[in-house]
Amino acid sequence: FAGLADVSISEDIPVEGEITVPVGSRSPDEDYSTLDEPVKDTIMRDLKAVAKKFVHVMYPKKSSALLRDWDLWGPLVLCVSLALMLQGGSADSKDDGGPQFAEVFVIIWFGAVVITVNSKLLGGTISFFQSLCVLGYCVLPLTVAMLVCRLVLLAGSGTVSFIIRLIVVVAMFGWSMLASTAFLADSQPPNRKALVVYPIFLFYFVISWMILTFTPQ
């Protein structure tokens, strides 16, 4: 202990703290015990996390919840519902119709992967799955737009309905862009922001186009 000879604590600095661990904090023991909890609790916990992220997308503020605790459940649900709603557009022959389920699925996931790889190649500091998470969650406004479009198309498919659909899709496209750039823009090098934002623009534009040109059977 020769090295500790010259270490001394000054007399006027109070040393204080708690030795006991307060009840209710997350101790390592608690993690193991999630195995015993009811299934409803497990599912509700994940559902609450997903719902919280949906709220973050609809009201994009600078919060790190979306980035820190990423998950891909939300994007999967959104992608599947969007693809289901887009499927089965009018077709005289199989080649003339709108995008099929697989095509929408591939466009969304492959597009998100390509954008993520692009931003990482340009020097972005965001991780792969965080970026996928953000891009997937920001499809939410467009899914809402698709729902609205289908409801409007039930009422009729004339010029008025087209104008309503156009306004809704454009508004939701703008919302998606705002939400995703709010989350992703900070992690990019400053002189390449436009290079990263443009592919995101293209991605949501293509999805918006598919929604707008959907015509029912």
Binding site: D96, N118, F205
Partner: protein
Amino acid sequence: TASLVMYLFAEFDDAANLLAANPDATTISIDEPVEISKNQHGRLQEPGREEDDELLGTDDSDKTELLAGQKKSAPFWTFEYYQTFFDVDTYQVLDRIKGSVFPVPGKNFVRLYIRSNPDLYGPFWICATLVFTIAVSGNLSNFFIHLGKPTYHYVPKFRKVSIAATTIYAYAWLVPLALWGFLMWRNSKVMNIVSYSFLEIVCVYGYSLFIYIPTAILWIIPQKVVRWVLAMFSLCLSGSVLVMTFWPAVRDDNRRIALATIGTVVLLHALLAVGCLAYFFDTPELDFPAAIIPAHNGTTVITRSQ
């Protein structure tokens, strides 16, 4: 020839002896004097050669070739290797796009803008944008042409996007590959001053496709004459960029081969434009013979052919 060889060996011997005798003597590397003489040679000649120098690029083209080799030193299985192909800033991409749309006569696109920093960002995203622009514009144009006709039923025709994507990406990657292979083969036979790396050729081709994006948007206008004028105009602009890039690379070759190469480059470029125009955009004022749908009063619709 034997005496020449002996003379050369004697020269080497002298140099070696000198160096052995005085190891601390400073040695002058050989490439510098050669470069200086090349510069002076270029400047002292008549002004006609100066634009060749401009086309060849700046004087340190040798150095930039060396630097290009040194830059990408990461092994190809690491992520950093591919990051070197995306080492561009926003203003650089915008400059390159501008350079591909407004060809400056006498300036070489590769030497002026790429300067041995070829990027894959431009070619990839310009091709992606072009694919979707052509598909969307074609769809819109057909919609407006056939608007108001009772037998027309709007269909999004999503299949065309896949076809557009395959065609454009194949053009943007396979044609540069073929051209690069051809230029390398000719390089082995004829000593060319200018040679491009594969990525630089991909870069030039990718950026030269940019002009087709506004052209495709303007092709929505359903007038045949307008469309063909636009096609010719954009073909001239981007074709001239390609020609001015590749002419120095084939100029020293056999005249006919050089002309044939340049001709093929322009021809393929034209084929792409004409093919896209013909396939994705219906001819205006021509009824769309989608299906023999009997009209509601029982008579078949007579299509009016152009």
